[in-house]
C-alpha cells in the first residue's frame, strides 16, 4: 500500500475545517455549520473548526454579493485590495485556513446530483477519502473538476480537501432528507480522517468509478439570454450517458435541439447558479480509480 504510506509520511492530520455557506443561498451547509458550532462533532485526534463561508451573502440569502466566493481564491484575487466583497472575504478565509490539514466544504445544487464528492485537484489523500465514502455510501459519486476559467475554488487554499455537492434542492430552502444525509456523510468523513487515516487503519479497498468534467455545454442564447431550456428527457438525469442524436434542449418556441457529439456523462444539469456562467450542463468521461 505505497499510496497510503506516502500520505502517512506526509504528516499526521491535526486540524480539519468544515465550511458551509460559501454560497450564501445554499442553506444546508450553512445550517450544518451553525449546528456544529453550537454542538461540535466529537473527535479523538483532530481539532475541527466550523466556518460560515460567506456570512454577508448568507444574511441576504444570495449566492454572493459581488462575485462567486468559490472562484475568488486565485493568486490575482488574493494579491491586491479590492472593491469586491468576496475577494476580501477570500483573503480572510485564506488566513483562517493557513494551518488547515483537510477541508470539507458543503454545497448544494438545483441539479439532481445526489450526493457528489467533488475533487478539485489530484491529491492522494483527498482521493482516498472520496473513494472510501463512495464505497460505503450507495448514493455517493465522485466527480473531478480541476479548474475553471473563472478563478480558483476555496480548496486551492488547503493541501487536502473534499467538496460535498448535494442535490437536487432549490436555493434558499432546507430539506430534512438532504440535510441529514449530508450530516451523515460529513460525520463519516471526519471519522475516517480522525480514526482511520490518523490511526493507521485505512484500507484502500476495491476500485470506484470517477467522473471527470471534460466539456461545458451552454444554452443556445439570443442577446446573451437563454433561448432554450433543458429538454424534459434529460432534466434531472445527472450522471446518465448522453448519446449522439439525443434531445438536449427545447427552445422557448417548442423546437427540440439534439446532441451532436461523442457519448459522455452529463452533470450539473440546470444548475440555477450556472445560467450566468454559461453552463447548461457539464459533460464527463467515466473511469475507475
Amino acid at each position: 500500500m505505497s499510496l497510503f504510506k506516502s500520505i502517512k509520511e506526509d504528516s499526521m492530520l491535526k486540524r480539519v475545517v468544515i465550511t458551509g455557506g460559501v454560497h450564501g443561498n445554499e442553506l444546508t451547509g450553512a445550517f450544518l455549520v451553525k449546528k456544529w458550532q453550537k454542538t461540535p462533532l466529537v473527535t479523538k485526534n483532530i481539532k475541527i473548526e466550523y466556518l460560515l463561508g460567506n456570512p454577508k451573502a448568507f444574511k441576504e440569502c444570495r449566492r454572493y454579493i459581488d462575485y462567486d466566493l468559490n472562484r475568488s481564491f486565485s493568486k490575482k484575487a488574493l494579491s491586491k485590495d479590492s472593491y469586491i466583497y468576496e475577494f476580501e472575504r477570500a483573503k480572510v478565509l485564506k488566513e483562517r485556513l493557513k494551518s488547515c490539514d483537510f477541508l470539507i466544504d458543503i454545497h448544494t445544487t438545483t441539479a439532481n446530483m445526489g450526493m457528489t464528492i467533488v475533487l478539485s485537484k489530484d491529491d492522494p489523500l483527498s482521493n482516498l477519502v472520496a473513494k472510501k465514502l463512495s464505497l460505503e455510501f450507495d448514493d455517493v459519486k465522485i466527480l473531478r473538476w480541476f479548474s475553471t476559467s473563472e478563478g480558483d475554488f476555496i480548496n486551492s487554499a488547503v493541501p487536502h480537501s473534499i467538496t460535498l455537492e448535494a442535490g437536487a434542492i432549490c436555493q434558499g430552502v432546507l430539506e430534512p432528507r438532504i440535510f441529514f444525509r449530508c450530516e451523515e456523510i460529513v460525520k463519516r468523513a471526519v471519522e475516517i480522517l480522525d480514526s482511520e487515516i490518523n490511526q493507521d487503519k485505512f484500507e484502500i479497498g476495491k476500485s470506484v468509478e470517477v467522473y471527470d468534467i471534460v466539456k461545458i455545454v451552454d444554452f443556445p442564447r439570443e442577446e446573451n439570454e437563454p433561448s432554450a431550456m433543458i429538454h424534459p428527457n434529460i432534466l434531472g438525469k445527472d450522471y446518465f450517458q448522453l448519446k449522439n442524436g439525443e434531445p438536449i434542449f427545447v427552445t422557448l418556441e417548442g423546437e427540440t435541439i439534439l446532441y451532436d457529439g461523442e457519448p459522455l456523462y452529463a452533470v450539473f444539469i440546470n444548475e440555477a447558479a450556472y445560467y450566468e456562467k454559461k453552463i447548461a450542463f457539464c459533460l464527463c468521461e467515466k473511469s475507475k480509480i
Copy 2:
C-alpha cells in the same frame, strides 16, 4: 345570470396587461413576457401589453433589490419619493397600469402548488375567469389571498386580475413542463377575456373549490433563524388537509414537531422567498363558489 350581467355593464374589456418577473428570479413569467414581446398573442377585441415587472432584479436574478415589489403597491409606498428601488418601480408600473382593464401576473414558487390561480380581491370578473380556468384545467386550483401585512400586491393597481402561481420550481431556472403549461393557461385566460366575456359567450358553469388563506405558520426559530425544517411527511404535499397531531417540522437535531390545531389545508409549503417573511406554510379553509 345576474353576476355576469353586472360585469358586462361595467364596461367592455379593452386593455389587458400580462406581467412576468415581478420577482426577478422567477424566470418562467419573465421569459414568457419576453417571448410574447417578440411574438405577441393574437387577439380580436383586446389589446395586450407585456411587462417585465422588475428588470433590475431580473438582471441580477434576485427576487428584488431592496424590497419585495409585489408588496410595494400600498398607498404609503406609492405616495412619496423613496430610496427603495421597488417603491419607485411600483410608481412606474402603477402609471403603466392606469388604463388596464385586466392584469394577468405570472409567478413561480418552490412549493409544490401545481398551477394555482391566486385571487387577491373579491371581484366578480376575476372570480369568473379563475373559475372557468379551474373547470377547464384539471391541475388549476383557486387560492384567495386578500391581504398581507407587508404591503399591497401589484393586483391592487388594477380593477380586475388573476395571478398564476406555478410550482414546484427552483428560483433562477426554467423548466419546459412548467413553462409551456403556464403559457397554455395564460393563452386560454386571454381567449376567455377576448372572445367569451367581450363576446357575451361566457358561461358560469358548475361550482368549483376555492381555498382561502386564513392562517400563517412560521418555522420554530432561534435567534430569528429557523431551528427546524418542514417535515418530510408534508413536504411537497400542498393542498392536503393537515390534521391535529400530524408532524409538521423536524428540528435540526431530528426531533419531530406536531401540528396542534383544527384541520386546515396547507399551501406554500417551503417557499424559499417566505423564510424571511416568517412563513413556513399557509393554512386554508376550503369552500365552493
